[in-house]
Symmetry: C2
């Protein structure tokens, strides 16, 4: 079992209609590795400043996250501030302080270089090659992206899509990359750009998975009160890739279950601010919600 | 088996980015009864003008739709004109000519008055009582509504919700009636207003069914090209109620399957203009798509 997650470990300031939180722990790598930790022992590659709480590092380690690839540098940790409105699917970025993340060139520890799955979480696509060239022969490379890279690095992004196996996108990103309004057409168009699996996340409407001979749909857990949507997508990727790492397979049956575990982990993440809910989980709660997802759609 | 559908039988003029159609046959009662005809022998109560094509009446009869309750009056048939943009979930009404529908006070034929299921399709809620009082003891009363009645007859609508068993609404209508943004909260709030089942239709995102101890989700069929979204909701109701009429039960298992058959019928309706696709179907195609829905979500 070996899943390497290259992403941000950060502070988030979150403003919502039902409360604010200042500088709580967040970041794509944090959410993703915590979610994956219920299935495998994820390895995280990232950088934080000396201001990052040791308590969180201890909590991540206690959940089985391997922190050998997490660099602690002089300076301040990446800090993002955002505001959500009544519609949790829409957010506004109020501030982005890259700090030690600004000149982050991910160095992969020797012990990680034979890893089976590599996940590039919202990385500048110009840095993909630098990261991937350090691995020997990963069985699976997955990537996510953000609107910023679609708007500013479109050509590089499209080229990188041709080199990955799995692409995670939300509906807005899928439409922006492909120019297609219809999500089924957009998903299939993304497949045509290279990945063998495309995971299209739709927030409260669940997710769709597209493969060569596969369209699979998973609903979102019926959540009445989304407290903090931050990290939902990263938690989805963590559950999805963590489960695939555990099973070591990529058959259709495993991909379907991976998507449900992705949805399960995302559904937990949004129930509290930051990583609180993921830290408070155990495997039994994860399995119980997996069964709830089955009841939700079985007929 | 006895399902009575009280609704419009009409002409629609449809404008879409990929083509227009002038005065083709439409109407909530038409779509709903055609969709239901794959499960039961629906009875339709409505009114048309002498300009309504005999060919369509023959086609409806050939599908087993009972037209004894469809009045043919001197004058012109109800005519609606609308335009869809790139997003098939949004439409603009360009024209509404009520014609013979304007003073339509639905008279229920004696032979229909013992019917088991009554569906009030987009009817002015002020006329519900007049219609329902003509039935003896229907086992199930279902209703749909439109934005117009939510905006203009809110109090009557809320009162009528307290008298029906099943309420069909799309996401916009559910939010408007309840004032809730979160669809799960909205669905549960609608349950609180009276119905024992609430069916919340979400277009390309499928549908959610809420019951006393039930939240069930069905995805939409992955359709790449929506030709004409008109009638999707009415076809959903037709498949749903037609199946319930056939099975004569209201157990959770039957409700789940009814929702899938609703989605199946809606997924066909939008594949061509007007009622063309529904007219071209047979039971084997319906069952084949039902199995596709199962493959779409099974894990």
């Amino acid at each position: 079992m070996s899943l390497v997650i290259v992403g941000s470990v950060a502070f988030d300031t979150i403003r919502t209609p039902w409360g604010d939180r200042e500088r709580i722990v967040g970041g794509s790598g944090t959410y993703c590795s915590l979610a994956a930790s219920f299935f495998t022992r994820p390895r995280i590659v990232g950088v934080v400043g000396r201001d990052f709480p040791r308590k969180t590092l201890a909590e991540l380690r206690a959940r089985g996250v391997d922190l050998a690839g997490l660099k602690i540098k002089a300076g301040q940790t990446f800090h993002w501030e955002g505001r959500y409105g009544e519609d949790p699917n829409r957010r506004t970025t109020l501030r982005t302080e890259l700090n030690v993340f600004a000149d982050f060139r991910p160095r992969i520890p020797e012990a990680y270089r034979g890893s089976r799955i590599v996940y590039l979480a919202n990385l500048n696509p110009e840095h993909h090659a630098f990261v991937l060239d350090q691995f020997r022969r990963p069985a699976l490379v997955a990537m996510d992206t953000i609107r910023l890279w679609i708007d500013t690095k479109r050509d590089v992004l499209l080229k990188e899509l041709g080199r990955v196996d799995i692409f995670f996108a939300n509906d807005e990103e899928a439409r922006l990359v492909t120019g297609e309004t219809n999500l089924i057409t957009a998903g299939k168009a993304l497949l045509g750009l290279g990945p063998s699996l495309v995971v299209l996340k739709k927030g409260e409407h669940g997710a769709l998975v597209f493969g060569r001979d596969l369209v699979f749909g998973v609903l979102a857990h019926p959540c009445e009160h989304v407290v903090d949507p931050t990290g939902a997508g990263d938690s989805f990727a963590g559950g999805f890739l963590g489960y695939l790492d555990k099973t070591r397979g990529l058959a259709v049956r495993e991909v379907r279950r991976a998507a449900v575990y992705g949805s399960v982990m995302a559904s937990f993440a949004i129930e509290d601010f930051g990583i609180n809910r993921l830290l408070g989980l155990d495997r039994a709660l994860v399995e119980a919600r997996f069964r709830q997802f089955r009841r939700l759609t079985t007929f």
